[in-house]
């Protein structure tokens, strides 16, 4: 394996990690501030992708599509929070899991009812198609580079918002002590609604970006949801910085595992079983990583306390 190929795979891992971060950021905010386990986060991701695909199909503008994904997912988030989730904050996590699982079914079948069972068409805009020539002789898809940049930008903005604005102060205060900030006169239910809408909007935005390189179809959110939970558990629940580090760690571990494990096994077994064992182990790698992190840091890499 040449150095250029190794670097390209590293870039692929980084890009995958950044995509996971977009998904996990909303999840960790909602869980951290509101103490809510929201399994329907993947559905909001799907809502974003479908909104983007239909707006792009109608107007031909990818920018409008991205905007629509943001708005539609935030809107869906506000409705779900106001109608359903608001009643669950005081109840235990099992109730939340059951209700938000039901929401997955409602969103999935609702989307199928509205858009049909067939995947939708969504492609990246012509201006972002093609590859760019990177030093070292790598031709890397332009859109993937853009995902890396956009993801890092979103991370920076979120970081600033949480650490430097009044809303951010309230969010952090809400994480630390819910009763106290309510007693200090902060409208907690409005704060929760804003946080939830922000988390939903991020998920929808991620769905639109990712949908344009992958596929826009019913049920697209659930596989990513699982990875999203792995990321926030590794990163430490509620920590944006932790989510970013963990997402990139998971992205690189997964990508490198997929590429190199079969090669490692090929060193001492026959090719066929090396391939099978290597890929089987590669698919377990991030869960092994999660288990290891939990053994040494039970509250995650950046978790506050156990």
């Amino acid at each position: 394996m040449s150095a250029a190929l190794f670097f390209e795979q590293l870039l692929n891992g980084l890009q995958f990690g950044v995509m996971l971060f977009l998904m996990a950021a909303g999840l960790t905010l909602v869980f951290g501030v509101m103490g809510l386990i929201n399994l329907a986060h993947g559905s909001l991701y799907m809502v974003g992708a479908f909104a983007c695909a239909s707006v792009v199909a109608a107007t031909g503008s990818f920018t409008l599509g991205l905007l629509a994904s943001f708005v539609a997912a935030a809107f869906a988030g506000v409705i779900v929070e106001g109608l359903v989730l608001r009643r669950l904050y005081r109840r235990d996590h099992l109730d939340q899991v059951i209700v938000t699982f039901a929401l997955i079914l409602v969103f999935t079948e609702g989307t199928r009812w509205l858009f049909g069972s067939y995947p939708l068409y969504l492609d990246i805009p012509p201006a972002l198609q093609g590859t760019v020539h990177l030093p070292g002789g790598i031709d890397y898809p332009l859109f993937r580079l853009m995902i890396i940049l956009v993801g890092l930008l979103v991370a920076a903005l979120l970081f600033l918002a949480v650490n430097r604005t009044r809303l951010g102060i309230r969010i952090r205060a809400g994480e630390a002590d819910r009763e106290m900030i309510a007693a200090l006169g902060v409208d907690i239910s409005r704060l929760y609604m804003i946080v939830f809408a922000l988390g939903a909007a991020l998920a929808g935005f991620a769905g639109a970006l990712v949908g344009s390189v992958q596929s826009v179809q019913v049920g697209m959110g659930e596989p990513v949801l699982i990875l999203g939970f792995v990321v926030i558990v590794i990163g430490g629940i509620g920590s944006i910085g932790g989510a970013l580090v963990a997402a990139i760690l998971v992205g690189i571990t997964d990508t490198m595992g997929r590429v190199f494990l079969p090669m490692v096994f090929a060193g001492f077994t026959d090719p066929a079983s090396a391939n099978a064992t290597g890929s089987a182990l590669a698919s377990m790698l991030i869960y092994i990583l999660m288990a290891l992190v939990l053994v040494f840091r039970p509250s995650g890499l950046f978790g506050e306390k156990a």
């Binding site: 692929n12 069972s117 067939y118 995947p119 969504l122 898809p141 049920g219 089987a280």
Partner: protein, 380 residues
């Protein structure tokens, strides 16, 4: 008025049933995937089958349709319910091999006929074959074998192959290798449900391959083709029809143009039955039929043809009538081999654009009168 006649007819039928069993309607249980991510396949298979029954105009047939949610346990429950309380005579409709493995052996064990509209795992074609189990679609390996044959015929000598790491993926790659004579530039098992293929595509580009064979059904294939087109990789793609289904192609768009895929049916197959099917399907559902719709339609017509010769209650007669397969298949010629799996031609199709619609057209025949690799192990 109409209702009254129907009511009278029912009374008359009930009276008849007491004396003659052959007037009993035939009940067909359709277990298929109608919700979730895999729903488009089940919907098409069901629609094709119901269209055939509707066109056949046989008033004695009743259907029961249920959604298996793509879950084996749900499929088993539905099958039990259909057999025990709905008293169906024939079961059909399952799309996925793991569901078929959960349902078929117990259904045939209870003396019901099972006709597969899609899934046909190797376990049911060889030693596990059954006299009451028929696959109308293919044997799972067929389209992959044809892709291997095509790669050999096209003179490819270094093909890179990839499929998800699950039983059907492994069968796919071994099916391809069975008829491919060149060497492999690489072989990768991806994760099931994986949607990002950047790492694999980078490996393909670096491998010096002259072509790529991939089996990635559903959303996985859409993601792969879009990312492959973006990556600047130039090796031609080959795949089985599953990733080039009529409904999937619209979501892939230009990225699929020119890709070769192997199938035992295509909407441009030149025969009367197929023309009538494509026309009727579009008129009924306002969309082009997919390959699953074609399998469903053939299954419906096979049942109709067999019922003309013998009722299901005469199990031996009905089975013989199914084996004879005297119906006009949309695939042109069609017959069953000794293990009740089809003997048929398999074609190479190319993805083209007709107006605004992406679709397939036949460019070559990969295999003629292909049966399957497991027939010799089947002892009925």
């Amino acid at each position: 008025m109409n209702m009254a006649i129907k009511g009278l007819a029912t009374v008359a039928m009930t009276a008849l049933m007491a004396t003659a069993s052959y007037a009993e309607p035939t009940k067909i249980g359709i277990i298929t995937t109608l919700s979730g991510g895999g729903a488009s396949l089940g919907v098409d298979a069901r629609d094709g089958l119901l269209l055939a029954l509707k066109k056949g105009g046989n008033e004695e047939i009743e259907t029961v349709v249920e959604d298996d949610q793509q879950k084996p346990d749900v499929a088993v429950q539905i099958a039990d319910k259909m057999i025990q309380s709905d008293k169906v005579d024939i079961l059909t409709g399952i799309i996925w091999s793991n569901l078929a493995m959960a349902v078929v052996p117990s259904a045939t064990g209870q003396g019901k006929f099972y006709l597969s509209v899609n899934a046909a795992p190797s376990q049911l074609a060889g030693q596990g074959c059954n006299k009451d189990y028929f696959s109308v679609s293919y044997q799972n390996d067929n389209l992959h074998e044809a892709a291997g044959q095509y790669a050999t015929d096209a003179g490819y000598a270094k093909t890179f192959i990839l499929a998800p790491n699950y039983p059907a993926g492994k069968d796919s790659l071994s099916g391809f290798k069975r008829y491919y004579t060149g060497e492999l530039a690489g072989e990768i098992y991806t994760q099931l449900g994986q949607t990002d293929y950047a790492a694999e595509i980078a490996q393909i580009k670096a491998s010096g391959a002259d072509s790529v064979f991939f089996f990635l059904p559903g959303g996985m294939g859409i993601a792969f083709m879009k990312q492959y087109a973006q990556s600047g990789a130039e090796q031609p793609l080959i795949g089985p029809a599953f990733s080039f289904d009529q409904n999937i192609l619209q979501a892939v768009g230009d990225a699929a143009l020119g890709v070769k895929n192997t199938a035992n049916w295509s909407k441009d197959l030149d025969n009367e039955a197929n023309k009538a099917f494509v026309e009727a399907y579009q008129a009924e559902y306002d969309r082009l039929p997919s390959i699953y719709a074609a399998y469903g339609y053939d299954t419906g017509n096979l049942i109709l043809a067999a019922l003309k010769k013998a009722p299901v209650s005469d199990a031996d007669g009905f089975r013989a009538a199914l084996e004879a397969a005297e119906f006009d298949s949309v695939r042109g010629k069609f017959s069953f081999g000794p293990n009740h799996h089809p003997v048929q031609d398999i074609y190479v199709r190319e993805v083209v654009k007709e107006g605004d619609i992406y679709t397939n057209k036949i460019v070559a025949t990969a295999m003629t009168d292909r049966d399957d690799a497991y027939a010799k192990d089947c002892k009925m």
